[in-house]
């Protein structure tokens, strides 16, 4: 290897190193305030400024969490998490299956849109949990009711975003591909889908977030045995604030993971690659 080649390889290595250093720094910037908050919380409780029975310190919450995984039969905490994830994701998946085709249809068909959109604007701001008693009456306690309520939480944001995404496609974009003699299905797959993807992705994010938020309340009202919402609610009978906080912390953590990792990966592979660039050329 000549000196020049070594130099180039070094340059590439140092660029890589700089990149990972930047990511590390960003990670620290994010984690540090969270740890700071936990530390203050711990100290405030330990110093006796707050009643530890109402607000248990993070160390005890963590200990309780581990206990619920390792010192219980069937790792009860994992059962709660599993049930909650299953319900939220199932509701979200059904919402996508329903809202995506419906959204494309309403986005493309002006007459249908004019009829349906007023109804949507009335239903969109309605909290899905409000439907829980109706489902309890018809479906009883259990997964069917919880998933139905979460579905209602997830379906409107996905539907609304899909419609917006499709409607925002400039008609001339479709004219350009039609001029190429594109058959209908190609217009759909090669233009409508990718063009609406950024907005549809936002809808997915919102849909899953809504499903997750709705879940807690629905589980409190309709779950029979498992689920984080159920766990938090059931713990009140024993004044078990540690278990309640285990549930709350997990809800936050899982919600965070959905938002930043699940969709982040898809976004990095698509939208950010298409749009996040600097301009070049004159």
């Amino acid at each position: 290897m000549t000196d020049i080649q070594i130099e180039r390889a070094d340059g590439r290595a140092s660029a890589l190193a700089a990149g990972s250093a930047r990511r590390l720094l960003a990670g620290i910037r994010f984690v540090a305030p969270v740890f700071g908050m936990l530390l203050v919380w711990e100290l405030v409780v330990r110093a006796g400024l707050v009643d530890g029975r109402v607000l248990p310190p993070p160390s005890l919450i963590a200990a309780r969490g581990f206990e619920m995984v390792f010192d219980t039969e069937h790792a009860v905490l994992l059962q709660h998490i599993g049930h909650s994830l299953y319900r939220a994701v199932a509701a979200f998946a059904i919402a996508v299956v329903v809202a995506l085709p419906l959204g494309f249809w309403l986005g493309l068909n002006r007459t249908a849109y004019n009829w349906i959109s007023p109804i949507l604007s009335v239903l969109l701001p309605l909290p899905a949990v409000a439907w829980t008693p109706i489902f309890l009456v018809t479906l009883g306690h259990g997964d069917a009711t919880i998933i139905s309520v979460c579905f209602l939480g997830a379906v409107f944001p996905v539907l609304y975003s899909t419609i917006q995404g499709v409607r925002a496609i400039p008609p001339h974009t479709i004219w350009v591909v039609r001029s190429m003699g594109a058959p209908r299905h190609a217009i759909f797959t090669k233009v409508l889908v990718p063009a609406s993807l950024p907005t549809v992705m936002t809808g997915f994010k919102l849909g899953l977030a809504h499903s997750w938020r709705t879940l807690v309340a629905a589980e409190m009202l309709a779950a029979l045995s498992y689920g984080l919402g159920y766990m938090i609610f059931a713990a009140r009978q024993y004044m078990d604030t540690q278990t309640m906080f285990v549930g709350i912390v997990l809800l936050a953590m899982l919600g965070f993971i959905f938002e930043h990792f699940l969709f982040g990966t898809v976004e990095r592979a698509t939208i950010r690659r298409w749009y996040a660039h600097h301009r070049k050329g004159g």
């Binding site: 400039p170 350009v176 070049k280 050329g281 004159g282």
Partner: protein, 284 residues
């Protein structure tokens, strides 16, 4: 309508007129205004014959119906009355024999420059390697070499419009329709585009119809300049530009022609303004 001819046809030597490609006869277009239900006559009794491989620039006051006419040729806007045919067949809808370029550089941001340009060929099931070879030819001719793998978001307006032009040419339509292709560009970029692309149009061997609001653009680029009247659109000027290419904006022959077209156009704009002032007595 006034029947007086607005110009005296001049018998110029016509370089290679070609067979009639697009024939419009007695075209009318009436829009219904969505808000008040009033009829807007955009085009009235328009006749125009465009010949094979002719480069025609259409110019006229804004709102006179130029885009409407172009979209009719593209097959996206239907005709209220009259006939419009291409190669003797009535135009009934869009088709790959006509490519279109819009002012707002419509690109597919999820595709690289190369993939934007190959899309038309992909639609026609042309094998990938062949499609890329064809695309690269137009990338070269439009000055996009080196940008093949760039995403549109990284390009300036001028480069974006080069991609849109290359894309419209790459799938080999017989007619290319351009709706104010340089209208969204700054003066400097526009100047370079018009200069750089002069040879492209000759190389393309296509019938080209370009709508523009710039007289100099029309005179420097086209074989023939057609001026539309204020709405409803009729033809008030139709002349061949017999000036050898490449044309220079400072060539006295070019300047002469620009003056001639500008006179026809400003007389028309004045007439329109007077008519509008008449409709609005406060004249604000």
């Amino acid at each position: 309508m006034s029947a007086e001819p607005a110009f005296k046809p001049r018998l110029a030597a016509i370089p290679d007129p070609g067979e009639p490609k697009i024939v419009a006869e007695g075209i009318n277009k009436t829009f219904i205004n969505r808000e008040n239900g009033e009829e807007v006559v955009a085009i009235e009794n328009l006749d125009l014959t465009i010949r094979d491989q002719e480069f025609v620039a259409i110019i006229g006051p804004s709102g006179c119906g130029k885009s409407t006419f172009l979209y009719m040729l593209a097959g996206f806007e239907d005709i209220s009355a009259g006939t419009l045919s291409m190669d003797g067949h009535p135009v009934t809808g869009p088709g790959p024999d006509r490519g279109i370029v819009f002012q707002e550089f419509i690109l597919f941001p999820w595709r690289t420059v190369l993939r934007n340009i190959t899309l038309g060929l992909e639609m026609q099931k042309v094998p990938r390697a062949e499609a890329e070879a064809a695309a690269r030819k137009w990338i070269g001719l439009t000055g996009l070499t080196g940008f093949e793998d760039a995403y549109p978001a990284t390009l300036s307006g001028g480069m974006k419009q080069r991609v849109a032009i290359a894309r419209a040419l790459a799938y080999n339509p017989e007619v290319v329709l351009l709706d104010e292709p340089f209208g969204a560009l700054d003066v400097q970029t526009k100047f370079y585009m018009i200069r750089d692309l002069q040879t492209l149009w000759q190389e393309a061997h296509k019938t080209i119809v370009m709508v523009t609001h710039s007289v100099s653009e029309a005179v420097i680029m086209a074989d023939r300049v057609v001026v539309f009247s204020a709405r409803p659109a009729r033809i008030i000027y139709d002349e061949r530009i017999d000036i050898a290419r490449p044309r220079d904006a400072l060539d006295p022959k070019v300047i002469d022609r620009q003056r001639e077209v500008t006179e026809v156009l400003s007389a028309e704009v004045d007439k329109q303004m007077r008519r509008e002032a008449g409709r609005n007595p406060l004249g604000n």
